[in-house]
Symmetry: C2
């Protein structure tokens, strides 16, 4: 069973009705909250042997579990607020191990002003950590995967291709996401957890559109894998987003002026019937296939 099948299985059995605005199928669930705000919910489980090796430092395990979730809140334009942290660790691990996991969690909590409001501790054969993160977003600023329109331009933050090196220590793009959400009309956004190919397809499917990505425009980090591999590699945790051409112009101007918004234009949104395609250096089109990181 692929990941999507299990999530689909659950989501099909749950008719969404108010106060739930959006259930399974975006980076976060959305719930009616105050007059001006929605509440956001997301969870991520990371497991030894799947998301990190037995040699990973416990601080990094805690950091990563929080960072993945903050990235999901960022992708909706929101601000993280409260976390519930469940942990399973082998009996033979000492107290310092568990404390270092907690310190990794804490480091990001302090940085982004998140409060841990619940927890559960267990023994386990392999180390496993689950974080559920609750956030808030102004109703007028919320961003989903499903608002992209043909003609919109496609951007990505930062540079891709180094998830393998940075996945245990990356800083989620919360600051950038909030700048985008508060200052521009972002038509859709998703975080790149499973690679550009996979996540571009998710965004396109959720929006009912197609896309053209220009291979030569994809920003690669210094120690990136080759571009063809970088497209399919997961755990970049950069943000992929779309905006109308008018808004795109403003975003680019702001980027040049303030220098606090490292984004790159990589393509455009097209009609759904045109599919999701990668345009090579010599202009040929090929499908941008989701061969990305799949956990199952």
């Amino acid at each position: 069973m692929k990941e999507l099948d299990f999530i689909d299985y659950l989501s099909k059995r749950h008719k969404i009705k108010k106060p739930v605005i959006r259930g399974i199928g975006d980076d976060c669930a959305i719930l009616e909250y105050t007059k001006e705000k929605y509440m956001l919910f997301t969870c991520d489980m990371i497991i030894e042997g799947t998301h990190f090796s037995a040699k990973a430092r416990p601080f990094q395990i805690g950091w990563k579990a929080m960072a993945c979730n903050i990235s999901d809140i960022a992708a909706m334009g929101g601000v993280p607020k409260y976390a519930l942290v469940s942990v399973g660790v082998p009996r033979n691990r000492n107290m310092g191990f568990l404390k270092c996991i907690a310190e990794g969690v804490e480091a990001l909590c302090r940085r982004f002003d998140v409060i841990v409001i619940g927890g559960d501790t267990n023994s386990s054969v392999k180390t496993v950590l689950n974080v559920t993160l609750i956030g808030e977003v102004e109703k007028r600023h919320v961003i989903t995967r499903s608002g992209a329109k043909p003609g919109d331009l496609i951007f990505v933050t930062g540079a891709l291709g180094e998830g393998k090196n940075k996945h245990l220590s990356f800083l989620p793009r919360l600051k950038e996401a909030r700048i985008l959400a508060k200052n521009f009309r972002i038509s859709s956004m998703i975080d790149l957890s499973d690679g550009l190919a996979m996540d571009m397809n998710r965004l396109a499917r959720a929006s009912g559109v197609g896309a053209r990505i220009y291979k030569s425009l994809i920003p690669l980090s210094e120690e990136s894998e080759p571009v063809d591999k970088a497209i399919s590699s997961g755990e970049d945790f950069e943000l992929l987003f779309t905006a109308s051409k008018d808004e795109a112009r403003k975003i680019i101007m702001r980027m040049g002026k303030k220098g606090d918004l490292p984004v790159t234009l990589i393509g455009e949104v097209v009609e759904r019937s045109l599919g999701v395609k990668l345009i090579g250096e010599n202009g040929q089109l090929k499908p941008l296939r989701p061969k990305g990181y799949a956990h199952l």
Copy 2:
């Protein structure tokens, strides 16, 4: 590191301020929500080899993970509303295995009108399931661990001593908890996840009181272990609660009249300095020591 140490470690680093009413340290965290209601948050992780054996039916694994969490919401007097479900399963398990876990989750969702709003699926060496459950409770009905007063009487729902047989299939005491919350002034409540001895001590510590439990009054189920063992055995998932003598009288009257509230009076709350004690058949007192189920 014992469970409490890790949770304490996290909680000490988080100053609770509004809208958080209560963070770590009760069955659920409490958050300001609407004018009339609080929002409740709880999470539980269950792991193969710790909380269930490799032979457990996947339906039961899903059921148990949901049931533990519903029990925590019940202990606050609340109603469960939304769930986020993270799962890790071995790669060699087939699609049916994952589907049966989902069906176990679903069965309780249908019964208690819970919507799954988020999920995460992963591969894992051992099966692991984390549920975060979000609930609501009317502000005037919320019950915590910390309101017991000397002179209050102590009750328990149902019968104890069969957690070992029923922990994969128990029905959380949500209905009973709501009857209690809506019709009576319950001064404190906790669910018996780790055994009467452990959880009575937790409630007493949170309330700053002592307790006398009459051994001969403890209700045991038909296939219970001997009482001394039953006191320390976890996973009964019954509710332990306190009420003033006046309210206790009303509870007992209602129980006799309607038959929908199986509760038993087992003791009384005393001054903290008198400790938490078990009174034997011949009247001798001994400490009710928390030797209960500890996951780490």
